[in-house]
Symmetry: C2
């Protein structure tokens, strides 16, 4: 094994002294050499036994998880099939419905951001562990729907999804990308993170860079920040005259309407984090050297403009939450809840599209005969 | 619950007759109504109990899996830390090493494609279930390394990885994307699938579209097919004169050398599937209507040119497997083996890069004080 075995192995080797036998710079006599070899062999045998036992335990646990997840998913569907009767939420923490999340979180007329309890968990009464299990239970259905969506666009035409994720610093946008979008097939997913516009982007209308990043048919596109920054930071920091950002609400409505007309289902999500929770999350980043890179002193400057951002968000949400492209405000103090909610909203969108496997565009029997001869 | 609850729920509702109570078009008398409600309530209670039981089972199983995976990973590392002693492979089917995969699969001088047993599993003696568990056990380390890689490039400079995946139709390229690349954080990953060149691409040198898709610093780029198509299909189908594709080996070597010089670690993988296995996989696609969309009659035409492709692959592999950018030929009749092997090769590349958390570019105590005041 000539290759470097990695940082961690090297560390544990130097800690325990189980380095390569006989290759040290210190001379070893035959006895020492034998002793070291024996010690290394023993350590390896123990490690091997532990690994083997872990594999066995893993195999059993794996099977149990699959059975349980399948059961939970089936039960959830069965319960959702009888919508006329109220379900006792105490009894069924895991029976969820995308429709209920959509209803509970949707921005309607008269919406006020201040009314949202950022630590609440609308449409869900379970806890973190249960939320993760529910998410896992729905994975197969989402995978199936995503593959159908992709397959249905094989001829270059077909539906797409655009998930727009907005939220203040530390609201958990990255976690949504990792833990919700990360469960999708990457071949049918395109993520675009919009940063501060480049010089070239600034020379174009604000929707220019957005249009270039729209998902193709069959694809689930995801925007980490979006054109909404052009009515958020652009407004709060006076990057453009007020008359300009005021016109953008209408421009965005028109733009999104045309997206919907061309077959894109929009899922617009604002992760709503509380002021105190943000402070705690920023503090956590300052406590851990492996999190320093995520911290930017500018985050505190933005924090001082909290109320201005809240005002800008509220106006944007109310003015652009349409029947075709509604906004959902997701309480985000609990990361596990926000992830579950976004997964359910995405699932709801895929179910509404209801993509179907395309029929064969060739003669199946003819091709079977050709294949047999090949 | 006004929203559509989805295809499957709707189906099961119509099958069992548990539709919304009292909202049907048929008039129901009070007794029927009561009976239906009772029936629905009972069905829901049963579903709820099953869901609850599944959650409990899931929670226990989940905990067991995590413990076991952690143990296996630790054991594997401990064993790898004593490289001077041979490990009995019978004893430790799950103790694997990226270095061993690299050594076993690397294309060296005198390599002959015909010598590869496409159903073999070099550097691994376990079975499918064990391979999946090993993959899971290494997930945390890969996630950690990927995040470090990403963090280390925060200032716009830094290393990147480029995984090149080549292989005949049905060799499992899509499965590598879904099951190996799909385990990575999508925020730090970019997949590019190279199709038949467009008219615009054909007007440019063959590396033009490749250069545009190269990973930025901090990113793991993945090519599903690549510039190697320009010495494979281009050669077999005479798309360019022989003098042109012959010159390309040197051009590719020079190109990849410059990539390595600029900080990109290349992992070039050829998924090597057997002629009979391909036939079986194509036949499977013709048996399932949900797989028709993956089948293309042209796949059988390509199959008739098997030997010409083998010759083209062999020459490409031998002529472009350099010390800086070696080729790995992965036996691919067993999909689970190919996935494990590619994961291990990727892990090896990340370990060699050994990316480190960047230091804070601000005064931590100063920022803590600022945050406290915000």
């Amino acid at each position: 094994m000539a290759e470097k075995t990695g940082r961690k192995s090297a560390q544990s080797a130097s800690k325990t002294g189980d380095g390569p036998v006989g290759t040290g710079t210190e001379p070893l006599d035959e006895k020492d050499r034998k002793k070291a070899r024996k010690k290394a062999e023993k350590a390896q045998r123990k490690a091997a036994e532990a690994a083997e036992a872990a594999v066995r335990a893993n195999l059993e646990a794996e099977a149990a998880v699959e059975t349980a997840a399948a059961k939970a998913s089936k039960a959830a569907r069965a319960a959702a099939a009888a919508p006329g009767v109220a379900i006792d939420p105490e009894l069924v923490p895991t029976v969820v419905s995308p429709g209920e999340f959509a209803t509970a979180l949707r921005v309607g007329p008269g919406f006020r951001l201040a009314d949202v309890d950022t630590s609440s968990t609308p449409a869900f009464t379970g806890d973190k562990a249960q939320a993760e299990l529910v998410m896992r239970a729905y994975e197969p259905e989402i995978a199936d729907l995503q593959e159908r969506l992709y397959a249905a666009s094989r001829d270059g035409d077909g539906a797409s999804v655009l998930l727009v994720v907005q939220g203040m610093d530390t609201s958990g946008k990255g976690g949504i990308m990792r833990h919700v979008v990360g469960l999708l097939d990457p071949q049918g997913t395109s993520i675009h993170a919009f940063k501060k516009p480049t010089a070239e982007e600034r020379r174009h209308p604000f929707l220019w860079r957005i249009r270039k990043a729209l998902p193709e048919p069959g694809i689930i596109g995801v925007f980490d920040r979006s054109h909404y920054e052009d009515v958020l930071v652009a407004r709060v920091d006076d990057l453009v005259p007020a008359s300009t950002w005021r016109r953008r609400y209408g421009q965005i409505r028109t733009f999104e309407e045309s997206l919907v007309d061309s077959g894109t289902t929009l899922v617009k999500v604002m992760l709503d984090i509380g002021h105190a929770e943000q402070k705690a999350r920023l503090a956590a980043r300052l406590e851990r050297p492996d999190k320093y890179w995520k911290f930017n002193p500018g985050d505190i400057d933005v924090r001082h403009k909290w109320d201005a951002y809240a005002e800008a968000y509220e106006e944007a949400l109310v003015k652009t939450s349409t029947d075709e492209a509604p906004w959902y405000v997701v309480p985000a103090d609990h990361k596990w809840y926000a992830r579950l909610a976004v997964q359910q909203l995405l699932l709801g969108a895929l179910r509404r599209i209801d993509p179907q496997w395309p029929p064969a565009d060739f003669d199946v029997e003819e091709q079977k005969a050709r294949l047999a001869d090949s």
